[in-house]
Symmetry: D2
Subunit: 259 residues, 4 copies
């Protein structure tokens, strides 16, 4: 019943300056509204639709940038990891390790992430029912680490489409772990553009608002100053300039829900 | 951008006294909160899962009760119709004719309903995409009647399950017609009990809250003083005693969304 | 374990001559292969996607044509009915009454059809699980008429798409009633063309072959000499010229399955 | 248009003797029918539903057993790999590397597998459309290795359920790569037993038959002499004693399809 936190940033790290700019501007928008802010960015897009999609700066440079942002802006940082070794390396730098949805059932990755002692944000697989996330959380908790967050990011619904089932939020909350709603990946149309994933940016504020009214601990959003020219996830990222109005609305809804 | 209206009442008419009791109590809860109230009840459950399900009082007695409630309580009334003749007869009594989801593509029924000049609330078929409701509305509008409401009540999602896609609300709103969210049928589990339809009543306030945050013109809810012993839709009807708290929350959320 | 029967004909009746031509040609292709043939055609398309879709010749003229075909070619005929009165009227002319998928839960229609004593082919709703068809059959059987066929025609799968779940055939067969596979509606893309329903004709032989290998009592196919210019269901009807090769393959597969 | 091959074996390796017994018996059943046989078994179940599920013998011992089976029985062997290092190690032993469905979008794994020069069987993710597998194949082919097989193993359909869309087979075949149908995982009910995955073994022959009638290059089936006591995938594995009759039927259907 605490106010929601914001996990936000670009889909992928582009450069230190770009990360700084977004951390500064998103951070300011959040802080001005009393919303706890965690900077999110990926150093590697390990599962692009096609080989021609840009993968990112790599773990070495990526973790350096995240460490710099963390220090300069004093905000926690979150990034996603794809194998045991990445979990260990990223675990030395970031505050929250994120498990990608496709990988949420990979036992070794979950255990390695848990063993870092960092908080873990697990995305619910598009192929999983919300009640099945209890088993996923239990794998992590078996390491003695119970700093777990469960994240809804859309469920397979026919081909090239996801649907957000908002019953998922209270169902996952029954585990006792905080629940996060990922408002930008939820509007993806996987593979919808043939060689890349499409999306409907206009529904990001719609679904985020629904999540606030239903109740969740945090909202995850990928934000970019120029999504249409971003190296990945352009169609579903929120425009930076639209963020303040969205946060105002979410904050007001959250206050009603948790009031 | 006007405050939401409430379409509510029992799934099926049981007796005049029962209808009076519910109209009085639901109406009071709504009116005290400044929420426009439309009494809803069915005279015939024409598509029960199995033959042993109770069908209701029939159109003759049903319309009489609805007319009485309408006059005694001064509230508009809405009921569902299943064929051309029913549309004509009910259209002489009720304020809003409702087209059941399974029947939302039956052209003759839509035209007959439209020709009564009454307002029409069309439930979106569980098998239809939200954008396909524009064609449905157009059938009704071809009669010169544009008092149309489009109602989301859940979409087929695997077997015996519905999912509420909240993108549906803004998509249907693009038609220009007001959009209604049916919060009790959306939690049905069709056929989920073998010989009858199951449901998860606890998600009614959850989904209604999401709808308010997304924005809609009205909420539809079946309400009963003792759902577990109601002749139909027990598992998904809201308990009468829970209505006031639900309305308080919806009203607060609606004010944020439309403020 | 008897060889499969073929229910086939145009989506809608266009004229007596057109019906004659198709009954003659489809009938010959079937008879030459020892496949029992039932001529299928609709006199009214009561649930077109949009109002501008052609509805057909109407029940009066339609039943006359069906009676003529039945007498001239000596084949049974099947047509779909949409309300109680139509069931009664068509029941005096045709051998098999068909219940459309959208209407498979309308109790009065099922009872009226059952009471004609004719055989009834019920399409499984796109929104229904296969095991739920037992309740549907029971409604008809309550009239004392057990000449019931249950027909798979695709299940909602996301928006504007159907999927054919072939487990459905043995599941529905557990009722003891013969199971029909509708190979042309199963490849529809409902609403997929905006104002009308799309489809993928090339998958008709694919899905029909799968049904034969799984085992079913009959195959339903809409067939037209020029589907691209047919008044309805063009994208999913089989071309008449392709029918003989398809029947050859189905017959060979059916012989393996039932051998 | 060559006769189908059989990829079969236990879900997980249990011991050398157990592997020998199954390779011998499955191999004999296949060979007697002129069906090319590839022995399949996993050394690690890396994504069990819950932590308490048995994971297997590990890569060291597992590859030893596979190498022994390969030599003793003269049959090719296939196993699944979960990361780059495993792909490299297994690639030195087995004939076919298999990419698990959950991992079919992990670019590094696909590239590492491709670089071994071994044949690659990629399972289509439960969250992927069949046409999206062209992008997956292209990643592997970028390594210069075009010995690629694309495998249908069911698609998410609501919660805890998969559906087999047989249009998927011809769609994936448009890539030019051979298509495999996995008949045992397709009948899984993921997470359906709470702490483990359920399944409906009785539909294995049903779906395999459908695949043969539609046309595919190979069938994948997990087979066990006592599935109910197997360490994993018991509910969906085929009983060894049922294999000969199933192969007879598949062979007959395949001959029709490819004749």
């Amino acid at each position: 019943d605490r106010p929601f936190a914001l996990l936000a940033g670009p889909c992928q790290l582009e450069s230190l300056d770009h990360a700084r700019m977004l951390a500064e501007q998103i951070g300011r928008a959040a802080t001005e509204r009393g919303i706890p802010f965690i900077f999110k960015a990926s150093y590697d897009k390990a599962n692009r639709t096609s080989l021609s999609g840009k993968r990112g700066l790599g773990i070495e440079q990526g973790l350096e940038i995240l460490a710099t942002v963390r220090e300069e802006f004093g905000c926690p940082v979150v990034t996603d990891v794809h194998d045991v070794e990445q979990a260990q390396r990223a675990g030395e730098v970031v505050d929250i390790l994120q498990i990608p949805a496709f990988l949420c059932r990979q036992t070794d990755l979950l255990l390695a992430a848990g063993e870092t002692g960092r908080a873990i944000n697990v995305k619910k697989g598009q192929f999983l029912a919300p009640w099945d996330m209890a088993n996923v959380a239990e794998k992590i908790a078996s390491t003695g680490n119970d700093r777990i967050m469960l994240c809804e990011r859309g469920t397979s619904f026919g081909y090239n489409t996801l649907v957000s089932d908002f019953r998922s939020l209270p169902i996952m909350a029954e585990t006792g772990y905080p629940v996060v709603f990922d408002a930008t990946h939820s509007v993806q149309q996987p593979g919808g553009l043939g060689g890349s994933t499409g999306g409907k940016r206009e529904y990001v504020p719609v679904l985020a608002a629904a999540a606030m009214a239903v109740g969740c601990a945090a909202v995850f959003m990928e934000v970019h100053e120029d999504p249409d020219n971003a190296p990945s996830d352009g169609p579903n990222m929120l425009k930076l300039q639209d963020l303040p109005a969205v946060l105002d609305r979410l904050k007001a809804l959250d206050a009603i829900t948790k009031g």
